[in-house]
């Protein structure tokens, strides 16, 4: 029963959602709207599971004095602090002078922006050390990257402005994005789409059961 019940639920839900897509009857539309609401509600519970998992993981690190356990204290303290702050003040999200908003704008926001901005430095360093024209394919990739990078900014046209339009970096960059890039992406998306459809069908029909867990 531990396997049959979930498999039956998945089959009924999956088959219904496929069926209702093609049958826009009032009854199927109503059940569909209910199903969407249920899914949203269920996903809210995943938040609780996520918080539970986070607390467990970091509590364990602190208890066992694992490396970087001090950072776990900061994580848990921040989680508790922001939760208390948000719950205790009903206008936390609408009061721009409140402590919640101040923490968001003056701590979280700069921290996240800084972390993302560091990418530019890492990319430059990685490009210097790893972006090598070792093979024909690597050379093609490198040339494409250089042309698109230059073609997207004014430097590209400054360097190639004297050439016929079809040879300018901006034109070639757009050509690369429009044709080779699109062709490759569409091939990937079609492959992924077929794979998703196949896997979905296998799950609905109970052929693919790894999601049930419980070993091999």
């Amino acid at each position: 029963m531990r396997r049959e019940v979930p498999l039956t639920i998945v089959f009924i839900c999956g088959a219904f959602m496929a069926f209702q897509y093609f049958v826009p009857h009032y009854a199927s539309a109503t059940v569909y709207e209910y199903a969407l609401n249920w899914t949203t509600i269920i996903s809210i519970f995943t938040l609780a599971v996520g918080i539970g998992s986070l607390v467990n993981l970091h509590s364990d690190r602190i208890a066992r004095r694992k490396p970087t356990w001090r950072y776990s204290i900061v994580t848990l303290a921040a989680l508790a602090f922001m939760t208390i702050l948000g719950v205790s003040s009903p206008d936390a999200l609408s009061n721009p002078t409140g402590l919640f908003m101040k923490v968001y704008f003056y701590i979280l926001s700069p921290v996240q922006a800084t972390m993302f901005a560091l990418l530019a430095f890492f990319i430059a360093s990685a490009a210097y050390r790893a972006f090598r024209a070792k093979t024909l394919l690597a050379t093609l990739l490198l040339l494409s990257a250089v042309i698109v990078m230059l073609g997207r900014v004014w430097v590209g046209d400054m360097l190639t402005g004297w050439l016929p339009e079809g040879l300018r970096f901006s034109y070639v960059a757009n050509y690369i994005l429009d044709f080779p890039n699109t062709a490759a992406k569409q091939a990937i998306y079609i492959g992924v789409g077929l794979g998703v459809a196949g896997t979905t069908l296998k799950i609905i029909l109970g052929i693919e059961r790894t999601w049930l867990g419980g070993g091999k």
Partner: protein, 277 residues
């Protein structure tokens, strides 16, 4: 001696690279030198669509970006909203990424204030709900399914702008400004399932993924990163705004990264030749 030089170049301390990139990004910001920005057809398609809509038309501008991507997408959001409000279009917005809700609310409120627009009459902010895929599907049936109340807790039915507005079919188009993989939900569900006219504004790093959808006609326009924002600012006649100013830094940083690639390759081939000989 020759080989030693190239070996030193190949082993260059990364902190020098960081310093050069830092200066290349920072100095142009101080100088306020403006660089030309060419307008691409995929960005002007978004502008043309919004510009062709009659005054009073309802459009949807859902925004999903957080502090990490605000440098690219906030200028874009501001430019699109300025265009909408200057044309007297009515805007419905959501923020389906939790970290960005406050930012989105701020950019929407401040831009609306610039044009003396009133909440509930000229624009509505629905806010955040978890599970963006389900929320997008639900809004295709009725906005009230996911958002019976807006971000401020006001019932949707009590907002005059929402009279007669039930789902995507009552909006002229959707311009989704998004830094997350949730873009795919808007394409698959809002456009694929409900046939909404969709355009995207995404970060530069994921923009190449969406040219395929542009050419298949699933989206009618695409704005990529700061360049897309700068193009839009020029289209609405604001070439001195933040994205255009920042394009100088982007241009100079691009040049230096390419120079690093060239120098790195030169060192690699020189050292390889030395090893073989």
């Amino acid at each position: 001696m020759y080989g030693g030089f190239w070996q030193k170049v190949a082993d260059l301390d990364r902190r020098w690279i960081y310093l050069v990139i830092g200066l290349a990004t920072f100095i142009p910001v101080l100088t306020y030198i403006r660089v030309p920005v060419s307008i691409t057809s995929e960005v002007s398609a978004v502008y043309d669509k919004l510009d062709s809509l009659p005054r009073g038309t309802v459009v949807m501008v859902p925004m999903e970006f957080g502090p990490s991507t605000m440098a690219e997408l906030q200028p874009m959001a501001t430019a699109v909203l300025r265009h909408c409000f200057s044309r007297d279009l009515k805007v419905i917005s959501t923020a389906l990424q939790i970290e960005g809700v406050i930012l989105v609310e701020q950019v929407l409120r401040e831009t609306a204030m610039e044009y003396s627009k009133n909440y509930g009459v000229d624009y509505v902010f629905l806010g955040y709900k978890p599970s963006p895929d389900m929320v997008i599907l639900n809004m295709g049936e009725n906005f009230r399914n996911s958002f019976p109340r807006d971000y401020y807790g006001i019932e949707l039915d009590s907002l005059s702008m929402m009279n007669g507005i039930s789902n995507y079919s009552n909006t002229a188009c959707i311009v989704n400004i998004n830094a997350t993989s949730g873009v795919d939900y808007w394409i698959n569900y809002a456009n694929g399932r409900y046939g909404a006219d969709l355009a995207l504004g995404v970060t530069a790093v994921i923009a190449t993924d969406y040219y395929a959808f542009l050419h298949s006609g699933q989206i009618f326009g695409l704005m990529g990163g700061l360049k897309g924002a700068a193009e839009y600012e020029r289209l609405i006649g604001r070439p001195r705004d933040i994205a255009n100013r920042a394009m100088t830094s982007v241009s100079v940083a691009h040049v230096f990264i390419i120079l690093f690639i060239i120098i790195g390759n030169a060192a690699f081939f020189a050292n390889r030749r030395k090893d073989r000989s």
